[in-house]
């Protein structure tokens, strides 16, 4: 029986191995071998992850933390040591399982999806690179390691979004994604530096054990202002959250995520729905005690999450590109998780329901959203377009897919007994328990919206008359390699709620908190019913609009003759445009131009002036050499006088 440490190594190193071998050797020469290797290694990784998880949860050791291994990476001064290690606790174990399992699925799926692509080898190696870095991020024992893999995740996402680098749209999307997240990461790094400077360590354990009262006395000089160390820590916590803010594409840094859909669909499904984008949530969950200790950081987090949730859901109701719809729904689900974490804070006390709910939602959401993306991928693969206009009536052609879609959509809409119901219900409950009634209302509303747009997608894609000659002609069929993972994923999408609930309520607590915990929580029985009711209502509306016999599909689908509000929403509140204006006009056109001006005209200008001046002096000397003998003789006489007066001789 292999022990856990070996398992840990396996989980991390198998994807790395795949990446190296595929990247350097197999590459594009023999894509088949690359695919096979990728699938096998990721499968093994997934297996060992599940093994590890079972070991961990069955042992009575859980839910304490365990560090399987840890190496010194960069020794800074004294305690300040950057380490690379593997931390095991319920949260990371759960993430391990999710990441490995989903990447396994996606690898299988990609065999089918990438069949025609020349560069499949590169694709598989990059995919493994991503899962390696994501795993590294998940098991991080300290902030520094987190940041390292955080960046690696970002770059592999960049590479995969821009995988089809001959598509300008893909290239620009990848660039945008990378730079936006990088922008957030710069604050993250600043936060790390600040916190590590105050605390003197990167370790999560140390940082989570802090109580701010110890830092009231000392003060930190931040250049522009000077503040007490405690406030510095609060600032640091906000800065660190900013990293998650960008990575999880919370408003207003959300715009990269929908654009990132330019990448291949498997990439969208693994990176931009299931795993990478929840890194932000994971970060906050990981540092929860610290965040909870830091003043109102959690409240900020809650509002950011809540707003994004509604905002994205509203946009999703109008989109026609199925991948974008899914992207916005991802955004809104991330918003759920985020605000659930934030909602734990009420005044000075903290409830942990939200934390559990949020992590639980990470878990369930991963499965159904991943499968939804895979389904979208296979639809696109058949219909060769993302546009809902060209779909419809696919129910007959792709029955398996149809059923799996239904399962996942019910799951995301929070209809019992599907997985989504349990986690989302918990979240809404958490909002209620936290006495954040406004957010609570928003959450209910959003769950309704969610159901509406998901079913809109569902009906428009599968029901009604085929609007695509390919479908009419019946070229459409189900690709085995692509359908298999969908089917497999449908199972956890259906059941993970039921299974998970027990485990999560048993093991999942954020650990020791430095603020008084709220022990007795009002448990409102009516919330699930309300939530489900709202969902059902929304479902009916969707059915009435898009699937009922007298629904006008054509009219529903054209966005031209619509009210102004609809247009605004349809154009995502013109956020891309604003973004481009800011970047083009302000950054490139403004700052960059000014600094180039300083360089080209001021610095070079001064230089040119100096040179000109010296040359003028030279001309002066040379004009004296007019070859005029009397003048020369004069210089002799004048010279005597000059040195008589300036020679500093004591005459």
């Amino acid at each position: 029986m292999i022990n856990d440490v070996t398992l840990g190594y396996l989980i991390l190193l198998l994807p790395l191995f795949t990446f190296v071998v595929n990247g350097l050797f197999l590459g594009n020469k023999c894509a088949k071998a690359a695919a096979a290797l990728a699938v096998v290694c990721n499968g093994l990784a997934a297996a060992s992850a599940i093994l590890l998880a079972t070991d961990y949860f069955c042992s009575d050791y859980a839910p304490q933390k365990a560090i399987l291994f840890e190496y010194v990476f960069i020794p800074f001064a004294g305690e300040l040591i950057a380490k690379i290690g593997m931390l095991i606790d319920p949260l990371s174990t759960m993430m391990l399982v999710v990441v490995t399992f989903i990447s396994f699925m996606v690898n299988i799926y990609s065999i089918g999806y990438m069949r025609e692509d020349r560069a499949a080898g590169r694709f598989f190696s990059l995919l493994s690179l991503f899962s390696f870095s994501m795993l590294g991020l998940v098991v991080a024992t300290n902030l520094f390691q987190m940041f390292i893999f955080w960046e690696l995740v970002g770059v592999s996402s960049y590479l995969l979004i821009g995988f089809w680098y001959h598509k300008p749209s893909a290239v620009s999307a990848s660039k945008q994604a990378f730079i936006l997240t990088r922008f957030a990461d710069s604050f993250f790094l600043l936060g790390i530096v600040l916190v590590s400077y105050v605390v003197g360590s990167f370790d999560f354990s140390t940082i989570n054990d802090l109580s701010l009262s110890a830092f009231k006395a000392t003060s930190v000089n931040l250049g522009i202002c000077s503040m007490s160390a405690a406030d510095a820590l609060i600032l640091g916590s906000v800065l660190i959250f900013t990293g998650g803010w960008g990575k999880s594409a919370m408003f207003p840094m959300h715009i990269w995520l929908p654009n990132a859909m330019e990448g291949p669909t498997p990439v969208s499904s693994i990176i931009h729905s299931a795993t990478m984008v929840v890194a932000g949530v994971y970060l906050v969950a990981r540092l929860f005690p610290f965040m909870a200790a830091c003043g109102n950081t959690l409240t900020l987090i809650m509002w950011v999450g809540a707003f994004t949730m509604v905002f994205a859901a509203v946009i999703a109701c109008t989109q026609k590109d199925i991948k974008r719809i899914l992207a916005y729904s991802t955004l809104s689900q991330l918003g759920y998780m985020m605000f659930a974490l934030g909602a734990c804070k009420m005044g000075q006390v903290v409830a942990v329901t939200g934390w559990t709910a949020s992590t639980f939602h990470i878990f369930t959401h991963a499965f159904f959203k991943c499968s939804l993306f895979l389904i979208a991928g296979s639809l696109i693969h058949q219909v060769h377009t993302n546009d809902l206009d060209a779909m419809g009536g696919l129910r007959k052609k792709m029955p398996l897919t149809y059923i799996c879609t239904l399962i996942s959509i019910l799951a995301i809409s929070g209809i019992p007994p599907f997985s989504g119901f349990f986690s989302k219900d918990e979240i809404i409950l958490a909002a209620f328990q936290g006495h954040h009634y406004a957010v609570f209302g928003l959450a209910l509303l959003t769950s309704g919206l969610t159901t509406f747009y998901m079913f809109r997608l569902f009906f428009l894609a599968f029901h009604g008359e085929p609007r695509h000659e390919g479908v009419r002609a019946g070229h459409v069929h189900e690709d085995f390699a692509m359908t298999l993972p969908i089917v497999i994923l449908a199972v956890p999408a259906l059941l993970s709620g039921l299974l998970g609930k027990g485990i999560f309520e048993k093991f999942f607590t954020p650990g020791k908190l430095h603020v008084p915990q709220l022990l007795k929580l009002a448990h409102a029985e009516w919330i699930p019913y309300t939530a489900v009711g709202v969902a059902i209502l929304a479902l009916l509306i969707a059915w009435f609009l898009y699937a009922s016999p007298k629904a006008k599909i054509a009219r529903a689908l054209d966005e031209t003759n619509r009210s102004g509000l609809y247009k605004v929403i349809y154009h995502k509140f013109y956020f891309d445009e604003m973004y481009y204006t800011v970047v083009r006009q302000f950054i490139f056109g403004g700052v960059a131009r000014v600094s180039r001006f300083i360089q080209d005209y001021i610095v070079e200008g001064i230089l040119a002036f100096v040179i000109w001046f010296v040359h003028k002096l030279g001309d002066l000397v040379r004009t004296a050499q007019a070859g005029y003998l009397p003048f020369y003789l004069g210089t002799l006489i004048v010279g005597v006088l000059i040195w008589r007066f300036f020679g500093q001789l004591p005459l």
Binding site: V614, H615, G618, L620, Y632, L633, G639, W643, L651
Partner: protein, 479 residues
């Protein structure tokens, strides 16, 4: 009168006799014969070897008839002057040979060499003088042949114009000097250096300062210090190339020797008081020289300005204590002579086929890479880029200057190196980078030219970081 045979005097005596022999030999052989040339070579080299045989004695040196002193500075300066004379002779040889157009550019080689010998002897006299009269005579002996040499080409009107300017201004400078001497004499009441020094140690008076002023102005002319340098560019350009070379080394060496003897001899007690004057002269001169050279297009004029700047650099060393200053100056003169002559040899080779301008250097690196490399070496050496000799020479000078705490002057001089580097790069650019316009006339190198260029290039590269030369000189002063 010393008991033993004063063997240390032999070289001087030979050099004094030598021009008569050379010129006289013309009487017994026909116009084209090589005999005077052979004699000249033999004699100069023999004298140089004999000089090297003289052991360096410390301090006072040895006396011949009580006021012909041969101290170690004297010996070393003699060697410098002889090196210059020999190289000048070799350089000039090609101008007396029948060029492409059948007739030589200059005539009467024997007299020419004789004149050089006289000038050299003048230098000898200056460094071995220990009273004002000998001193003055030496300076004149060193200068007067130069007037004649400048006007050597009777056909060339540039030459005669240059000579006219030179001699007129030179005489004025002589007048200044004489005035200075006269006041010095009046101040000390004697011509002898020791007594002058003694008088100065007893106390100064305006008379002394007046004489110092006039002396510096007078020598400032020969050393091309600001603002007495104005003759140099015209004369350097007007005179024949070998004369320019000799002028730029021998007469400068003589002049600086004059100053060294003066400053470390009779004026030693007031060196501190005249330090500001020296510093000012040095700083202004090197700055002006560098400025003038910035935009030159004719090679000899360019070299004139560069040598003006070099004079300024040399002056810096006069600020230091005697040992350092003398070491620095002698060493630098060696280096300067070698680099300068290397440059002039190359210009001569070019000048035999084209007119001596920057433009005619174009395409040199394509046509004759080794010559281009030699040119680059000499230019970088003059600019003072390590590991070439020029850098170490300048380092000596600055070291001596800084040793008495004149950091500002040293910093200024060092910064001027950048300016200098600029115009030397200009020259290198036209030799290495610029494309030739039209067809290049082929360059023909005689064996002598090739040999000398190689020799000098190696010397420039080696005598810098190889310590033997500087250490020997230094040892000479520290015995």
């Amino acid at each position: 009168m010393s008991q033993y045979i004063p063997n240390f005097i032999i070289p001087d005596a030979l050099l004094l006799l030598f021009p008569f022999i050379v010129i006289g030999s013309r009487l017994f052989c026909d116009y084209k014969s090589k005999i005077p040339w052979r004699i000249a070579n033999f004699g100069f080299i023999a004298i140089f070897i004999l000089l090297n045989l003289i052991p360096l004695a410390s301090g006072e040196g040895r006396f011949f008839i009580s006021n012909w002193r041969v101290d170690d500075f004297g010996v070393l300066m003699r060697e410098v002057l002889m090196v210059s004379a020999i190289l000048g002779m070799w350089l000039s040889k090609d101008y007396f040979e029948h060029g492409a157009d059948g007739k030589p550019q200059m005539h009467q080689i024997a007299e020419f060499i004789g004149a050089i010998a006289f000038a050299t002897f003048g230098g000898f006299t200056v460094v071995s003088a220990c009273d004002l009269l000998t001193f003055f005579l030496g300076l004149e002996i060193a200068t007067i042949p130069m007037y004649a040499l400048t006007a050597w080409n009777k056909q060339d009107q540039m030459g005669s114009e240059a000579a006219t300017k030179y001699i007129l201004m030179g005489s004025v400078a002589t007048a200044f000097e004489l005035f200075g001497f006269s006041y010095l004499y009046g101040f000390a009441g004697s011509l002898h250096f020791n007594e002058i020094q003694h008088a100065i140690t007893n106390g100064t008076s305006p008379l002394l300062w007046l004489s110092v002023l006039f002396l510096f102005c007078g020598i400032g002319f020969k050393l091309t210090l600001f603002p007495f340098y104005t003759w140099a560019p015209d004369v350097y350009e007007g005179a024949p190339t070998p004369v320019t070379a000799v002028l730029s080394v021998t007469s400068k060496a003589t002049a600086i020797a004059f100053l060294v003897v003066l400053v470390y001899g009779p004026l030693a007690p007031i060196q501190q008081q005249i330090a500001p004057l020296i510093a000012l002269l040095a700083g202004v001169t090197l700055f002006v020289g560098n400025l003038g050279a910035l935009k030159q297009s004719r090679l000899r004029r360019f070299m004139a300005y560069s040598s003006i700047a070099q004079a300024g650099y040399i002056m810096v060393a006069l600020l230091g204590p005697a040992t350092m200053g003398k070491t620095a100056i002698v060493y630098y003169l060696f280096v300067y002579a070698v680099s300068n002559y290397l440059a002039f040899f190359i210009f001569g080779i070019i000048g035999h086929h084209r007119e001596e301008t920057f433009a005619s250097l174009r395409g040199l690196s394509k046509q004759n890479p080794s010559l281009a490399i030699a040119l680059a070496i000499s230019m970088f050496s003059l600019a003072g880029i390590p590991p070439l000799a020029g850098f170490f020479g300048k380092f000596h000078l600055f070291f001596s200057g800084a040793s008495t705490g004149h950091y500002v002057l040293v910093a200024f001089a060092v910064l001027n190196n950048v300016l200098a580097l600029f115009y030397y790069l200009q020259l290198i650019k036209s030799a290495w980078v610029d494309e030739p316009d039209g067809h290049l006339t082929p360059l023909r190198l005689t064996k002598r030219q090739r040999g000398v260029v190689i020799l000098l290039s190696i010397a420039v590269v080696v005598i810098g970081f190889m310590p033997f030369l500087s250490d020997n000189i230094f040892a000479g002063f520290n015995l």
